[in-house]
């Protein structure tokens, strides 16, 4: 599986039978095999996660299907485009079958974001991929403690659903704007789920937070599984059966 970091929270996962594109708003996409379908995901309506540019991807010869959070407005989506869109709410499981005579399946489970929309857990080609969207522990200094406690609780409720789940690639927010709290959501997820490769996102082009987390004692159990992202367009080839390093 090849993972390309496109920009901000946008990632492309190129698998054997399909390609998955998450939260694309801008940036250069690598060339893809046009014989494989492209599944385009948008976790929620915010401008740093969704742009109607994604519908340009459906203009070529490649088959494209969209999985959009239900909070994204349908008003600017044409009827023709709508036929290729599945809208999802939190707490749903959507199975897309494709390929010759529907012999292939892509299973999508959604989780409720602590911000807007959903997070995605996808199972395809024997691989499990998680994209958090903006599901994170959004603890902010200056917010009432009750708000922050509620945020943490709501985050834990969702992440607990993935406790023990083996995830081959997880795309998780690591936001420097949260200052000392930047690692909380990422850390909790890594401790509860069994993540083989973790890709930080939502870094607002400040990738120093990745090294910062790796240098912290809390990340000892999982720092070797955190991908070092340094720029847009960077690609990572993941092994078929990677090992979890304790």
């Amino acid at each position: 599986m090849k993972i390309t970091y496109v920009h901000h929270s946008a990632f492309l996962a190129d698998l054997w039978s399909a390609a998955l594109l998450f939260d694309y708003t801008q940036g250069r996409l690598p060339d893809l095999d046009t014989n494989k379908p492209l599944f385009v995901f948008a976790s929620h309506r915010h401008g740093d996660h969704y742009s109607d540019k994604i519908f340009d991807l459906g203009n070529g010869p490649r088959e494209v299907h969209y999985v959009l959070s239900d909070d994204i407005s349908r008003k600017k989506i044409g009827e023709e485009q709508s036929r290729h869109i599945s809208f999802v709410k939190p707490g749903e499981t959507l199975t897309l079958t494709y390929g010759t005579e529907g012999s292939l399946a892509l299973e999508i489970t959604t989780f409720k974001s602590t911000d807007e929309g959903v997070a995605f857990l996808i199972k395809v080609d024997g691989t499990v991929i998680y994209h958090a969207g903006d599901l994170n522990n959004w603890r902010w200094e200056g917010e009432p403690e009750e708000w922050n406690r509620n945020m943490a609780k709501n985050y834990s409720v969702e992440v607990d659903k993935l406790a023990g789940e083996k995830i081959d690639a997880a795309f998780l927010p690591l936001d420097p704007r949260q200052e000392e709290n930047f690692y909380l959501g990422f850390d909790e997820f890594m401790r509860k789920a069994e993540v083989v490769h973790a890709f930080p996102m939502h870094c607002w082009d400040d990738y120093s937070v990745i090294e910062r987390l790796k240098s912290m004692e809390v990340s000892i159990p999982y720092r070797d599984r955190i991908a070092m992202i340094e720029r847009d367009g960077e690609s990572f080839v993941l092994e078929q059966e990677p090992q979890i390093h304790e």
Binding site: G47, D48, D70, D71, Y98, K112, E116, E143, N150
Partner: protein, 100 residues
């Protein structure tokens, strides 16, 4: 995130005070415009949820690659003769509600 309060004047009829909440703190960046637009649209309450509950199942035999959508809410399915090659199954499970 910072809780921001925005005052909007709609069509000169009234002054509405809307609280725009974005937990991820994105309201202060370029995406503020998008959030504002959607906030306005949300006030008009489109029947999105109803549509989402009636997920159609579209089958095609024309394309060599057809994506099929399956939903547990089978009674609400609609069939179509259109050449959409995407089909999906949706199981609507419980929806968790945030206490915030």
């Amino acid at each position: 995130m910072k809780l921001t309060t925005k005052k909007l004047v709609l069509t000169g009829l009234a002054v509405l005070t809307m609280a725009a909440i974005s937990a991820c703190g994105s309201t202060k960046t370029a995406e503020t415009t998008a959030a504002t637009e959607v906030t306005t649209e949300a006030a008009t309450t489109e029947a999105v949820t109803t549509e989402a509950a009636t997920t159609e199942a579209v089958t095609t035999e024309e394309s060599s690659e057809s994506v099929e959508e399956t939903t547990e809410e089978a009674s609400a399915k609609e069939s179509s003769e259109e050449a959409s090659s995407v089909e999906a199954t949706t199981e609507a499970k419980e929806t968790t509600k945030a206490a915030n």
